[in-house]
Symmetry: C2
Subunit: 177 residues, 2 copies
């Protein structure tokens, strides 16, 4: 059973996020920028669809971690997109969670606060496997140390690993069991 | 600690509510009814403010009950407003919760599904007490039985009790301890 205070806290954060969207629309309405309102609506709808799909993958720990990530004011903002048909990823949740958390923590430790930083996580869903792409844009420090640590986390499962001061991009496949 | 599945469920309901607002705006945008968009935004902002105030009254059980009430598809929709300065109602939460739940259940048992039914709960916050007004509009059945049951719940603490087939309105004061 949920603690009522936790529930109120979740609702408070969610309300805050949606009010930002509402305020944006209000601003563009005052400026008569109706084209921008349409954009804001489309982005909000698309994001809600991504959130809904993420919530339906039977990976509650990973979903909660990602859905609440930006509420803790991390040094980079996280965005995610979910492509493909919703499928059951329960069998790989543990492996997925530990990799996602480890990589997210490494980016926290190695990103510079001089610039805005952003991590886009793309879930590509296939019937038998998940392909997860990390795309970090911003400014990274101590690149060699980061590369060693990331490669240790990835255990040679990544493809097309790219790491530069302003970006880091790689994908990992998880086969369903 | 919150169960992750409960948390995802709360977020799913909240997302659904906000998406309704977004879809409404999208519809009015297509119709170029910008005045209506402004109304929708104002209502959404006002409701968020009410929700935020309700969440800050230190009555988590009552707040969660009311904030999630409409998610369970009750026979009437619940709306609430919170007027006055936010204050700490912890000392009266138990008494408040049992009265609110009992009255809400009685309206459930006595409302007719032939019409749309609606309950507006108004919290008027004063430094030393809370005045809570129930305003039910819709269609009620078995009025005598309802009156007896409500008066039993209220224990003569109500003022200006009105009960007719299409409405029921009364207020109760709760003194802070």
């Amino acid at each position: 059973m949920t603690s009522k205070k936790d529930m109120l806290d979740v609702l408070r954060h969610s309300r805050h996020d949606w009010l930002n969207v509402i305020q944006l629309i209000k601003g563009y309405l005052a400026l008569e920028r109706y084209d921008r309102i349409e954009e804001v609506l489309e982005i909000a709808i698309q994001q809600a669809l991504n959130e809904s799909k993420l919530s339906n993958l039977s990976i509650p720990n990973v979903s909660c971690y990602l859905l609440t990530f930006n509420w803790l004011q991390p040094p980079y903002t996280l965005e995610f997109e979910v492509m493909g048909e919703v499928t059951d990823l329960q069998s790989i949740e543990q492996e997925l969670e530990s990799l996602v958390r480890a990589a997210a923590d490494l980016f926290k430790a190695h990103c510079s606060l001089e610039r805005e930083n952003h991590l886009l996580l793309t879930f590509q869903l296939f019937p038998d496997f998940l392909r997860l792409t990390f795309d970090f844009q911003g400014k990274l420090c101590r690149l060699e140390e980061l590369e060693t640590a990331l490669k240790h986390v990835l255990q040679k499962r990544e493809d097309s690993f790219e790491l530069r001061e302003e970006e880091c991009v790689f994908s990992v496949c998880f086969e369903k069991k």
